[in-house]
């Protein structure tokens, strides 16, 4: 039996409200908040990046399981904003957590699903008996071009999961991955901001792949949507996950605990993993949890977890996602936000 033995998330302290961004670009904040269902988003501090966010999330995951970091045999970090183009984030994170030197690490990239890619690989290595424990992290400090719709959603944060075979909090019952070549969103080497295909990011991309993975794993498992206590879908905005969930037969009640996008924004590789983390924060023993990520390009990873009797023992051992979202955020105006996100050209 393989499953999650520790989990943790980190969301930066800084936020910007949708009204600030709308005001800057002369857009209708009310219409955007209604359409995208986003109120505010997290913003990384000047001294935060994918590596620091990964370390913060991973430390919380370690707090929830009493293991020696030296026994972690594999570490995967999924992100589209690794600080180095060449030098893995995993090397720094592994050093900071005390995992080095006997471990395997790799940085992964698959737009918004790089975190779940890491989860997919980590659990498989444990299941194969290659490593005792494996850690997967999805973290990002994502960038949306100024005045683009993405600017309202692209945010920062991340979540970490440790997989093992003993003291499991949430057993991993089934997985499925669904991938095609779909050019809905991309960023070329050296480009600062990504490009996207506007409405093309909807039906042929997000909805096709999320539904493809979801239907396949439901068929594989034999479960029906009503069997699940909770469901998490990747959150590029507030509307897409609730819409795709309803199309598949899930209810708002199942989705709302993991639907954190309205207050956090889209943390890209950390999006659905943080939704899962927020769900694990409230899950009870025996609860079935359904999760489907989505990464542009495009693909989806689907997971079915079952919470065990140990879940309630560890929920309070580290700060919960909803606690971080409510913990006295520092709000930025657009000028401060532009500085924090290095959108201002400075004199060298």
């Amino acid at each position: 039996m393989v499953g999650i033995i520790g989990y943790g998330s980190y969301i930066p302290k800084f936020r910007i409200k949708a009204e600030q961004i709308a005001h800057q670009w002369g857009k209708d904040a009310v219409a955007i908040k209604r359409g995208l269902m986003l109120q505010e988003k997290s913003v990384p501090g000047l001294d935060e990046d994918t590596i620091t966010i990964s370390v913060a999330a991973a430390k919380k995951a370690l707090k929830r399981c009493n293991i020696d970091p030296q026994e972690i045999g594999a570490l995967y970090i999924g992100s589209e904003s690794h600080p180095y183009a060449v030098k893995p984030s995993g090397t720094v994170v592994g050093e900071a957590l005390g995992i080095v030197p006997d471990f395997h690490t790799a940085d992964l990239e698959f737009a918004c699903k790089a975190g779940s890619e890491g989860m997919f690989i980590a659990q498989a290595l444990v299941k194969a008996g290659e490593v005792k424990y494996a850690m997967a992290i999805g973290a990002d400090t994502s960038q949306g071009a100024p005045a683009d719709a993405l600017e309202f959603s692209a945010s920062a944060g991340g979540s970490a999961f440790i997989f093992g075979e003993e003291n499991i909090l949430a057993e991993l019952l089934f997985t499925h991955s669904y991938t095609t070549d779909t050019p809905d969103f991309w960023r070329r080497e050296g480009a600062f901001y990504p490009h996207h295909g506007g409405r093309f990011t909807g039906e042929p991309a997000y909805f096709k792949h999320v539904q493809g993975a979801a239907k396949a794993i439901l068929k594989k498992s034999g479960y029906k949507p009503f069997d699940f206590k909770y469901a998490i879908f990747h959150m590029p905005n507030g509307k897409f996950p609730l819409t795709v969930g309803k199309k598949l037969g899930f209810t708002d009640e199942q989705m709302k605990p993991g639907w954190v996008v309205n207050l956090m924004g889209n943390t890209y590789s950390g999006s659905s993993p943080t939704g899962l983390s927020a769900t694990l924060d409230v899950a009870k023993p025996g609860d079935l949890i359904f999760m489907v990520s989505f990464g542009s390009g495009a693909g989806s990873d689907a997971f079915i977890f079952k919470a065990t009797g140990k879940i309630t023992d560890v929920q309070n051992k580290a700060e919960k996602v909803r606690e971080m979202l409510a913990d006295d955020p520092i709000y930025l105006d657009y000028g401060q936000y532009a500085k924090f996100r290095e959108k201002i050209i400075m004199n060298e």
Binding site: P12, K13, F14, G45, L46, D47, E48, D49, I51, T52, V55, A56, K59, P83, Y84, V92, E95, A96, G98, I330, K339, M346
Partner: protein, 129 residues
């Protein structure tokens, strides 16, 4: 900072590893080779606690070039739970509201970059607990 020195200091900067004198028990951070209290050269490695209190602090308003974007920022002496005092930046806070005695915890952050193409240097900073 040259890369070899940065690499050498990672245990203390990344993981708060200190040296505890086996002779008299004094903890040194960063670690030393000889105890200045009892002269012992025998140390064991200990990890410092992440929580502490601000003993004193100052606000930097005119910063060195690589920290100009961060002004105003606070530099504090923090006494950790085991009595060890360290000097560190305090971030994610309104510096005007900072007070002596504030409880803080140490976090892993980016400290500086060696320009836009150089290495990124990470280490500990404090945030309000």
């Amino acid at each position: 900072m040259p890369s070899p020195r940065y690499r050498r200091e990672m245990p203390q900067r990344y993981r708060l590893e200190a040296g505890k004198c086996k002779g008299c028990g004094k903890i040194f951070f960063p670690p030393r080779l000889i105890c200045n209290k009892c002269g012992s050269e025998d140390f064991e490695q200990v990890v410092l606690p992440e929580n502490g209190k601000i003993v004193t602090f100052t606000i930097i308003r005119v910063a060195p070039a690589q920290f100009e974007a961060e002004v105003p920022y606070a530099i504090a002496i923090v006494e950790l739970e085991n009595g060890v005092r360290i000097t560190t930046q305090v971030v994610d806070c309104d510096t005007e509201k900072l007070e002596i005695g504030n409880e803080v915890k140490l976090v892993f952050r980016k400290v500086q970059e060696e320009g836009k193409t150089g290495i990124i240097l990470y280490g500990y900073k404090a945030v309000l607990a």
